[in-house]
């Protein structure tokens, strides 16, 4: 019995007696490790970012570059939200930032920007459009919270069309119905295929639709 105890103590202390190591093992299971986002960086940088968790490199080891593995736990664990929603929301800042940058470059001048998102889940669609409006407004664009709407008949017809035809036609209808004017730009952000995990965008200017990404 004692021999076995010694054996286990040796294993715990030497090999996996590192409870703060996030790798799966005795202390952490695999699913827990998958809820972490980790990156390697110098210990000095890691200490600056997380002074309460990572000690400063020792002065006597100043010549040696020591590294730290910094892991942060994701707020929403795997499985808490539908997978595609989680992926879209996870990269929302990045994707919306890219879209707003491209759109701003293509729609210069004193335009009033309107934004809407087309995504199967309304609450996620609202998050996407809010993020894009905020991003454009922070870039100094004139942004409206108002979303242009089409007549019910138009929506019924457009709903039956494939995206490649629906968005350009919707853009024409917005302009024709004066929901958008010459000084208005409409940025549409959407999902095209149910199997993808990225957002696409198109810009409607003067009744002309242009795919951005």
């Amino acid at each position: 019995m004692e021999t076995l105890l010694v054996f286990l103590l040796v294993q715990l202390s030497v090999s996996e007696g590192r409870p703060y190591d996030p790798a799966p093992g005795i202390w952490h299971d695999k699913s827990e490790a998958r809820n972490l986002d980790c990156s390697r960086m110098s210990q000095q940088r890691a200490h600056e970012l997380h002074p309460g968790e990572i000690p400063a490199p020792l002065a006597r080891l100043a010549n040696q570059e020591s590294e730290a593995l910094v892991c942060t736990r994701r707020i929403m664990r795997n499985g808490e939200r539908p997978e595609r929603d989680e992926l879209i929301l996870d990269s929302l800042r990045e994707s919306v930032g890219e879209i707003a940058e491209v759109a701003s470059a293509l729609g210069p001048g004193k335009l009033t920007w309107h934004v809407d998102a087309f995504y199967p889940q309304p609450e996620v669609a609202a998050k996407i459009s809010v993020a894009a409006r905020t991003e454009l407004a922070e870039q100094g664009r004139r942004v409206s919270d108002k979303v242009p709407v089409l007549a019910a008949g138009d929506i019924v017809v457009l709903g039956r069309m494939a995206p490649k035809d629906a968005y350009p036609l919707a853009c024409k209808r917005y302009f024709a119905q004066r929901a958008l004017g010459e000084n208005d730009a409409f940025l549409g952000i959407m999902l095209i295929d149910e199997r993808e995990t990225q957002l696409h965008a198109g810009l409607c200017l003067n009744g002309e639709w242009r795919w951005l990404r």
């Binding site: 010694v6 309460g52 809010v130 919270d145």
Partner: protein
Amino acid sequence: MRPALLALTLALVSSSSWAEVAPEIAEAQRAQMEKLRAEVAGQIQLQAYDLLDELVYGWTRQPVFELETPVVLADVTVPVGFGSGLAALIENHFAELVVKNPRTRLTLAHCPQCTAVVVHSGAKGTIVSRGVDQPEALATAGALSGARHAIFLDFEAEGSALVLRARITSLEPALPIIHAKTLTTSTSSPALLRSGDQLKSAAEARKEYLDALQGRGPVSVPVRVAVRSYAQSPTAGPIAAMPFIWLQAGAEVALTQARAWTGTFSVGVTWMPQLHTGFMGQARISRLLTGSVASLTQPDLYVFLGGSVISIHGQGARVFRSEVLNLEDVLSDIPSLLVEPHATFAAFPIGLELRVGNRIAASVFLESAPALDNAPSIGTHLNLLNILKFHTVGAEVSFAF
């Protein structure tokens, strides 16, 4: 040597590996998930408060409006997957911050119709929407209470960061956004609850946090109450050691700023009327197990190893001696009974210590005293391969000053 990545990559391209992943969440997991979600809500509430503090602090420094302006808190949205309870808490905290910080030049106005669904019929048809999306309808109904602006607060969990997107919209037909701000926990200070009426900038909060970390002095004075229980030898007669209660005090030095290693030197005393008086000197070194830096808020677990010299005087010391007196000894050598017995020996403790806030600690330990191998009255609690014998188990409660 083949690269690890490649060796693993080549393991299989079989489709069976995907079959193992069950996309459906089993019913049995749902309850667990709900519990987890409640736990996460508690964690992100603090982060959300922190972001609101930073937002309002920014407005006190650079107000959006030149004059005091009534605004409607039109909408608070929480991360997808969370309920309205969190939104209510955020709303309350935001209102408290605005009230306590008049330098924002914002006054919250009451407008229940703004968030309600309203139906407006006009020349373009009948529109059903939230009140704030139809300002002309609200104005007609006189529901705006003088407010001409609406604040929207949107929180979203994006990976490991909580993101706050705040915008202020002018309640005129075109609904222009006149102010927008994005804040994220990944760039803000570590979560600190700042008092609502004394907001700090992120930089100030970080400095305060660093001061708190560095303010933990390198030296502290621990006072311990310990109980040591000696194993009874199976061959021992009627004499057995009773538990010894020790009072120890000393100095502890953090060997690193992170308090990952600490060293302690202490002296102790034990006394039992008519039985024994004892003294002890002990040095020990402790290593933090739960992380690389001692936490300000969470309990820390240390493992320690030490060395002690223990000296016991009085009748109680007889159990530690190598000879056991029998009746013949007593009768033949009565004068020796008049001399007070004493025993001095070295002991080496190893144990675990749980500390809270570096102020209160509880520990358990095993102690090996090689000199007691020859004491017939003392047995072993744990014998490792006949090489290392632990004669004592003990527990301590410590207070650090």
